[in-house]
Subunit: 322 residues, 4 copies
Amino acid sequence: MIRIGIIGGAGYTAGELCRLLLNHPEAEIVFVNSESNAGNLLTDVHEGLYGETDLRFTDKLPFEDVDVVFFCFGHGKSTQFLSEHYIPADIRIIDLAQDFRLAAEDNDYVYGLPELNRNLICGAQHIANPGCFATCIQLGLLPLAEAGLLQGDVSVNAITGSTGAGVKPSATTHFSWRTGNMSIYKPFAHQHVPEIKQSLRQLQPNFTGEIDFIPYRGDFPRGIFATEVLTCDAPIEEIETLFTDFYSEAPFTHYVTRAIDMKQVINTNKCLIHAEKHGNKLLITACIDNLLKGASGQALQNMNLMFGLEETTGLRLKPIAF
Amino acid sequence: MIRIGIIGGAGYTAGELCRLLLNHPEAEIVFVNSESNAGNLLTDVHEGLYGETDLRFTDKLPFEDVDVVFFCFGHGKSTQFLSEHYIPADIRIIDLAQDFRLAAEDNDYVYGLPELNRNLICGAQHIANPGCFATCIQLGLLPLAEAGLLQGDVSVNAITGSTGAGVKPSATTHFSWRTGNMSIYKPFAHQHVPEIKQSLRQLQPNFTGEIDFIPYRGDFPRGIFATEVLTCDAPIEEIETLFTDFYSEAPFTHYVTRAIDMKQVINTNKCLIHAEKHGNKLLITACIDNLLKGASGQALQNMNLMFGLEETTGLRLKPIAF
Amino acid sequence: MIRIGIIGGAGYTAGELCRLLLNHPEAEIVFVNSESNAGNLLTDVHEGLYGETDLRFTDKLPFEDVDVVFFCFGHGKSTQFLSEHYIPADIRIIDLAQDFRLAAEDNDYVYGLPELNRNLICGAQHIANPGCFATCIQLGLLPLAEAGLLQGDVSVNAITGSTGAGVKPSATTHFSWRTGNMSIYKPFAHQHVPEIKQSLRQLQPNFTGEIDFIPYRGDFPRGIFATEVLTCDAPIEEIETLFTDFYSEAPFTHYVTRAIDMKQVINTNKCLIHAEKHGNKLLITACIDNLLKGASGQALQNMNLMFGLEETTGLRLKPIAF
Amino acid sequence: MIRIGIIGGAGYTAGELCRLLLNHPEAEIVFVNSESNAGNLLTDVHEGLYGETDLRFTDKLPFEDVDVVFFCFGHGKSTQFLSEHYIPADIRIIDLAQDFRLAAEDNDYVYGLPELNRNLICGAQHIANPGCFATCIQLGLLPLAEAGLLQGDVSVNAITGSTGAGVKPSATTHFSWRTGNMSIYKPFAHQHVPEIKQSLRQLQPNFTGEIDFIPYRGDFPRGIFATEVLTCDAPIEEIETLFTDFYSEAPFTHYVTRAIDMKQVINTNKCLIHAEKHGNKLLITACIDNLLKGASGQALQNMNLMFGLEETTGLRLKPIAF
């Protein structure tokens, strides 16, 4: 059994990780650290766990009892935590924040997108788990990058569920405001664009275009749905072959020949992708569950790979569908 | 023109009042007081007002310039405000909080339910505007009380929109939690029960039953929908006549012979009521918009009556319908 | 491997059954019968299945290849189907419609509520799977019935998701009408009341009260949330013990000491129950996922019991939570 | 009083027109034609009208009693209706379908976008009311076209409420499917693109770019929210001045310097527009209520202009806000 510690345990991604791990046949949760909730039951904080666990939050960090820790902090806090705490070198770390996603000289974290870096992940000690938007948008472009087909700027519109904004209540997650509403934020300036470009250039080093990304606030709790448009001369048949081949070994990422809708992936670790040509414009649609393939599910997929387990262990999830 | 001051101007009921008053042909907003927003445009805070006003919030209280003030405080704060500020005796007050709803020796506020107290309201200097749940539930029972037909306990289930919980974000108004969810709060203990009982006893002094009220948190922003069940021997035809007669002069409250649904009243000042007999059980359904007939709309209806205007002035609103 | 046939395969409950069975370690789907969809891929009709199956609908009925068939018809059609088709006697049947739920002289179907009839189900050849509302409402009352504590009428309000109304589009499942709306239907006359009474009388034969049930149309896709009120003199501690003891062996049904909310059970086969006393009134809240514990999940739970499997096989589902 | 006939009276746009006209001080509804509903009360079909009208649908067409008729047909049926019925030449027609929106030799219908064609509308006998998407998208581009600033292709993403799909239930308006879901339809091929291009070329004849329009199905009932991106060298200050000047006389269309959200216009006849520059990309956001400025509200605005009334008569609506 892989012994697991979770730090930053009161947030949405930690809760989702717990919901996954409680059904994982090869893993057990040893501790869930949350200073503000120390002593409380997990079931007091995380929805959906009655009858599944009697575990309580702790303010302790018994690293000696675990094989891997998941950082479920807000962005920027992983670095701070590491500067304040000693973690034994043999403990693996999977960081769900963005602190280590971009390559740097002293950064030994592997960017944890299995479709891109499966072999590196299998041998990694430290993983930087990709961002939710970044996962969805990249998966819709990587096969094109591998074929060197990216040219010009890519126009991306993607809409996210409210869980992407975290558990802390705010004006833009207030139900009264958000329900039946539509708005955008950080257009052309979202923090996930650099990691997307990094991955694309890993496969197509000469790609110098922009990712013109407009993020929308969706009036739904889970999911990301993205449309991506770029100029492309290749015929649709070639595109479809590229995608099908590129993801032929990926257990969760599938190219679909029909139009897709977002709820087809909700509560799963899947990414669905569909492509159409309109004149010389290529339109890609892609969707994921932001808390699963976009966060905790992919983190667990990475853990499975790091520990030599079947990649899908504990991740064959019943889709919500409705 | 009736000159109006609004105090507690940043909340939902104040915003709704502004949206109404800007189209009211006989009223003008003189000031909207909000300490935390002083200097900001109303359009910075209240949705839907672009193009309708250049007014700014103030931290001043120029009572000498107004004929009536609306208190849009949280409950309990009206009393506190009055203890700390002098309001000239000739200024009328309409209090949307619950501070003065229950009769007391030194309480000169008239309970502002026009269907019950129209004549008193017309001559009132001070109005205690009814609670949202209280309005909906009472209107479904008053004709029975007038006929002396209330007996035993009344079983009431009513569901409210998230705007009923106010503008301040909280765990139970977080979109992620509330959307697609259902829950109850304060069962058998909601603060509106005493004012409901007071009104029923005003018409049927011998009513001693309980109002067994279970409030639900609805996953919609506006509206209250209530079902009320009591034992009743009268035939449905008699019930229908009672309701139709009782509300014959009420411009916003209507008895409907078909089943009703909540969106029929959203964005209106209406209350719709329907009744059915099942054996000796009488089932009443009633619905209102909690921010209009349940708060700011009724407050304006009271103002119209106090100032001798046509009761519906500024309140002939297009229903949202969808 | 248990070999499975599904008849009436294009509806919501059939889809949910497929989503469950594709991850069930001891079962395999042999055929999914749907005349109107014969030849089409399951993925063309049922959301969420891309990447999980290449199965196609069939208009054949190869009973010789299966161990059990699930009837996913609309109500009334199971009887008709059986009158028109021969099913070998050794094939087990699990009927999700209501045709065989009420005991009758020539009815050999066991009422498939494991919390009530576990032993009978284990030996059953034919199962009548309970109704969704009936499951939720009964589970909130059975421990009281066993203790002989039911007295007088029970006031029940319960709200259901739109999937309860089936896949066929209609006026009351139109998104434009239903979203943000609230309404009731069939008050005091819902077709599930007789099976509720039957179960209650199985445990408390002298119960003669009414189930005054008001069903609400919820503006959410999945879930049932019920409140049940009855007069009861027993103290809350005794009630809590009754519920905890009654469900001590039930893997999916849990008594919870805190207030519950509906999303805690969505996408699970659980039922959560909470009780409060207010004066001499006992308030029970209970919730389930209408497509799982209220339909396909419970059907699979019954299959597990019939075939001697661990009751929870294939039903340890990640809650949606948000 | 302007006497009004409505044909195709059972659909969403007809219902919205009725809800508006019942409060219009200078107009009265003479007949609402609907063959399938002849004899039924308007309140039986159209939400929100209890207490406002006793009018019934008719299968008659008393053209002699009206000054103007509104065609609320599905697209294509206006032409058919006109070929089958004689309408006296002095009766004005406002057609909400798309039959006459594109200029043609024998087409005397004026394209009814007041911000573009106010003077023509004032003198028109026949109006082709613009499409909902077309209205929102155009209003975000017209000031640029007038200044000759359109160059290259325009990337447009716009999301619409379910009422845009009409009253007839279908798979994609089924609540179970649509709620919490996201999908696109007719990408690069929506029927409103030609009328958008026609308007843009009216102001900038040399515009030859494409409108790369991706329509989204929103999980809300009302509203359209659009983002539009194009290459533009002009500084943001110039853009803001262009928009402010272009719409200086428009009572319902406003340029806003802050980011906008869709609910700010719901239940109003407004269009809000906001612009940002990011590098040499210009991002426009625009939003309307699809049933009001996108259909029935704009139709009434056109009627006001045709009959010499104040443009805003009957259209000063309380925003829903929440």
